[in-house]
Symmetry: C2
Subunit: 213 residues, 2 copies
Amino acid sequence: MNSENDPMVLISEYYSDVYTQFVPVPLPQQGVEEVMAGKPRRRRRKKESGGGEGEMRKRKLSEAQVNLLERSFGSDHKLESERKDRLAAEMGLDPRQVAVWFQNRRARWKSKKLEAEYSKLKAEHDNAVLHKCRLQTELLDLKDQLNEARREIQRLSERSEGFSSNSPTSSSFSMEHMDPPFLGEFGFEGLENVICMPENNYDNEWGSLYNYM
Amino acid sequence: MNSENDPMVLISEYYSDVYTQFVPVPLPQQGVEEVMAGKPRRRRRKKESGGGEGEMRKRKLSEAQVNLLERSFGSDHKLESERKDRLAAEMGLDPRQVAVWFQNRRARWKSKKLEAEYSKLKAEHDNAVLHKCRLQTELLDLKDQLNEARREIQRLSERSEGFSSNSPTSSSFSMEHMDPPFLGEFGFEGLENVICMPENNYDNEWGSLYNYM
DNA sequence: AAACATGCTGTAATAATATGA
DNA sequence: ATCATATTATTACAGCATGTT
């Protein structure tokens, strides 16, 4: 059994069942004798929106087949021999096709996932940036308040100086640092984001970096 | 007999114009006859680690061809008839193949780009989150300081009350809001991120959301 | 028991085909 | 015709299981 492993199986035999079922019409693909003058191939298949389906060499699987495969794929992306053969028999396909279909499906799924993850990450990023801006704003505001408060303390301290004998303030307030426009006490990232913009320094737009190989 | 068992010969009846040019690329490496005589498919071809080029079946453009195409692609992703025909002639390919190659190349490039953009965005996001955490920390610190400052002001004010006639403080300090653990004066996002964690609430790990079709 | 061949499954990259804009 | 996309198919190579020297 397992004709798949038979060394002498010709590819035509191997794929005969595959192609014959999709090639109801031999497709007038001109032979080699056809002169290369001009562009012989390239027929212009017109719309025929109403489900033309005329004399096409269709290798596409039927919707029913795809549905079944899709359903199977949904339950498990992996494909064991058992399932493969069962599916193949169930829809009259070559087990090989089922395997190929699954492989391609996984690849497709992977791209889709990446796309989805990108969108997700993008949303999170935008959210984070927005939040960061608000924090930035809040921070500036607080620093203003703090400066003002310290000025006030300074004032009050000076005023009370004339009366009391400089009672040691329990809290340690010293005008120390804090006067400059404070770029955030971390100096983090230089100037980036100090100005609260949507952070479009880098362009997230599609088609900006046209140099990836 | 070779021509009889060669799968490509059979296939080339379908795609005569396309495949015939690849057949003459046997790559004088391995005993081709052994391969051809054996099963036409399911070639295992182990490692061949030091050998480098295995005996390419058919298909697959030669490295030289790919290099040329690649170079051409680098200068411009688009392909005009002119260039297409020139390239085709230059490397002995069917113009059709050149066109196909470019289309596939563009598609490949696109996914590569998406991947790259994802990594880029990821890095930016992580950076932003980190920065946000620092801002968060700084903010908490500032709020503490402010609270303390206000307590100080309160203290000083009360003290000086006994001496002066309540000189109106130029600045408007009123203990108003600010006592609660202040979740950020925006209430933004509820509790999220108040605790400064790497923000792994959502899992960025690959293979968590196995439900994308 | 170890080394090795075989065969299957999977992933990645690619070629080719089909369609629609 | 060209391009973008979606599909189907191939090739090559990797890992694992099993059968053979």
